[in-house]
Subunit: 348 residues, 3 copies
């Protein structure tokens, strides 16, 4: 497959501002690995220096480059280079494939009263509990366990070794990566003076549409009621989501973050990697939480916070910088004390 | 099923101090979701405001409420409302069910010389290695692997995709959640100047009774001897427990905590989420460690510590608060210096 | 099996400096559990006090002990006691066994065009995708999933419930512990103003030889190109390695660490537990990163860093100590201010 640069520009509503519009593009690549015939993109201006010695034949870019570029490099201006690039990947047929033969594998264990929609793929050694419903075109990889009474929408993809416990509800177009555990009992115990008594965890997990959940992430079932993950939310690997947490729509939660029980997270919230969110607090809509933050109190809509305890991000940066100079501050104070002592001796 | 409030009060040794004792209770619920006929509970006084507009018909509560309540709400005073609530859940038959048909599934691979007690349930696609013993009524969900020479007590529940490596010993009445790995080799290597040489990890893991272990938690086998988890200890999701760690009885360890090799944890220790415990240190009995703490040194019995490095909790709170004001402290010191300079100019 | 101490000394090129060289050694053990007939080792001088009341019959040690020892204890001086100990373990035949019967289990699902080398062991309920190649003597435990088009070298051991996604390349002599996920999609999304658009993750993971990866660790596939783990690198449990990360040779990465996308880690790097490494930064060769560090910027070859943000370790220690005294510093500054005020009142 080879496509003229001008054709590619038309696909993504772009404009060629430099280079030969009949240049042939044969594939797509990253800047570092690109060779002749490849199309690349740069997300923003700061990556422009990487273009100076690329072998790529064309680049998607948001604004006219200001640095000198290889002579033959075609520049296609588009509004959002990354999204344009994704669209071109699809045109080239370079898409991720689920790599599993279709149909219900004869070794899958399907309990009584299970409803499987048209085009559902169930791989080998999958277990599906009774009264569970899985809608059309959902793909379930080998060694997945889906418990009783689950409702699973269409066009989902569940990778291997996923565990989905009983009564879970999942929307459509979700991707659940390998090793994820959904519906594990929440961590609820009461100490009776002698030992921990288990609080039955009889709620469930409800997940919206277009949710993606990274490998080995855990989402606990509610004590009562529901733990909820809203439509469009993306969760990275090794994230812990406690019982009765409610997460809104279109959030992005980076790896190794922990969200304690009954926290409420709004829509459009972005949480950096390695963060911790306290239980029973509320994070407003469109909040951004920096990586490695410990959020101890509720946060207003639209805030940008970081640090531990998390505060306004610009304040947090000042604090973090200042804290690096405490040793010098101590020395300074000691020196000042000596000077004061001297003044006191002289003046009194 | 509908039960009079007076009957419920008798079940849990409670006393009705308000409302009609013949009120019919049909189910249990959380305060937020309660409807007429539901019984709810509040853990302590601070949740009392939530009662003011509940639709619940009765509440379990530890002391007489002081705020105005819905007219028909029956108040049942009990010593520990949460434990009473759990007892009532059981009376109502609202218990978590393991949802697996009994018996040994024909697809389970049971190696030679395995002993299975009466009433043991082994799900599909389970592997049980040779010379392993599993006692009565233990339930093993699909896709679990149990290695050779394990000794597993009675009435345990192992959820799907759990891996239990060879020579592990587990008591009775334990719950091991999905994705847990027990008996993985400890992280033991020696650098010989050129490369890391693996130290064989030939010890084992020994777990007591009534232990619960959360999803995707890892407990490493000992180099020699034993990694031990004491009876009654509860461990949350995504916790790392290194080789040769000894954890006492009735501890509670919250999610995403890491305990490094050879640490010794006493009885009744509570560890907040996201904490790290250094290797080769000793945490005394009944210690409480705040969330997100880094414990670098041994801690005395009964201490409450937090922070990084973890120190006495009230001290740690003072430090944490003070650290937020380092920018102002710097400015203040700068101002003082100017004033001293001026004094020096004037006085000398 | 019983071996004279003198024979053991010869095995490891050691020298008996104390005790009866014909003492019979029957096994090896840890100092704490040792009984008569056992050989133990101490890694360095600080463990010498543990020898004073050991029941062991012989000890491997790097230099002549200075404390009083049990009368009959044989001391064998060797260059590296831990490595010598590992060699002796092997001589005694005390080696970790993979505990799986050889051959291809009839329940394993082997897709078309799979190549399995001589002596490969494939356990029950394993899935191997099409066009995958596994070389001789590699052992694959039950419930492992290996996707399409993988290339797996020889003498590897994959423990249960591991997921290896399509197109992964793994060298030889690697140990992949239970629950590991390799080749999960990287966490790549673009926000288009309304929702997150998935960036296809069409790269792969490439792992060298002699790599060990701990339980439930996640290694994401590259967006384009490769996520790479170099030969001889050892990774502990519950570690997150983002897309396009490059890790060099002979690194050691402790548990619950997270390495964000596109970070580049040199050779011989040691990363303490619970650390976070920012994306798109470079960690030089032979860098040591202390436990619980947050590395925000690139680090030069040979550096030792710690803290958050990570700085030179000796500096970081000073900062950490000084930060503990901010409350006192505040009080001191307040006192000084009063003294200055007084001076000002007197002097002006």
């Amino acid at each position: 497959m080879q496509i003229k640069a001008i054709q590619i520009a038309q696909w993504v509503d772009g404009k060629i501002i430099r280079g030969e519009e009949n240049t042939l593009i044969r594939s797509v690549n990253s800047i570092e690995n690109a060779k002749e015939g490849d199309l690349v993109f740069i997300r923003d201006k700061k990556y422009e220096p990487f273009l100076s010695n690329t072998n790529a034949s064309a680049v998607l870019i948001a604004e006219e480059p200001t640095l000198p570029l290889p002579e033959t490099l075609v520049c296609i201006i588009v509004k959002n280079p990354e999204i344009a690039f994704i669209q071109i990947l699809q045109k080239f047929g370079i898409e991720q494939q689920p790599f599993l033969p279709g149909g219900i594998h004869p070794t899958a264990i399907i309990a009584e009263n299970v409803q499987l929609g048209e085009g559902v793929t169930i791989g080998p050694y999958v277990f599906i509990g009774k009264n569970t419903r899985i809608d059309k075109n959902t793909i379930v990889f080998p060694n997945v366990y889906i418990g009783d009474n689950c409702q699973i929408g269409e066009n989902n993809c569940f990778f291997p070794n996923v565990t989905i416990r009983e009564n879970t509800i999942i929307g459509s177009h979700c991707i659940i990566h390998a090793g994820v555990c959904i519906g594990t009992d929440g961590f609820g115990f009461v100490f009776d003076g002698n030992e921990w008594i288990k609080v039955p965890q009889i709620g469930r997990v409800v997940i919206g549409d277009n949710v993606e959940i990274g490998s080995n992430t855990c989402i606990d079932r509610a004590t009562f009621g529901e733990t909820r993950i809203g439509t469009g939310t993306k969760i990275d690997n090794l994230v812990q989501i406690g019982h009765n947490v409610k997460i809104g729509e279109n959030c992005a939660i980076a790896a190794t973050t922990g969200i304690a029980g009954s926290a409420v997270i709004g829509n459009g919230v972005r949480i950096g990697a390695g963060s911790g969110i306290n239980g029973h607090i509320t994070i407003g809509n469109n909040v951004t939480i920096g990586a490695w933050s410990g959020v101890t109190k509720s946060v207003e809509d639209g805030s940008i916070v970081s640090g531990f305890p998390a505060v306004d991000h610009s304040r947090a940066k000042r604090i973090l910088v200042a804290q690096q100079y405490v040793p010098e501050l101590m020395k300074k104070v000691k020196d000042l004390e000596a000077r004061i002592q001297k003044l006191e001796n002289n003046c009194v």
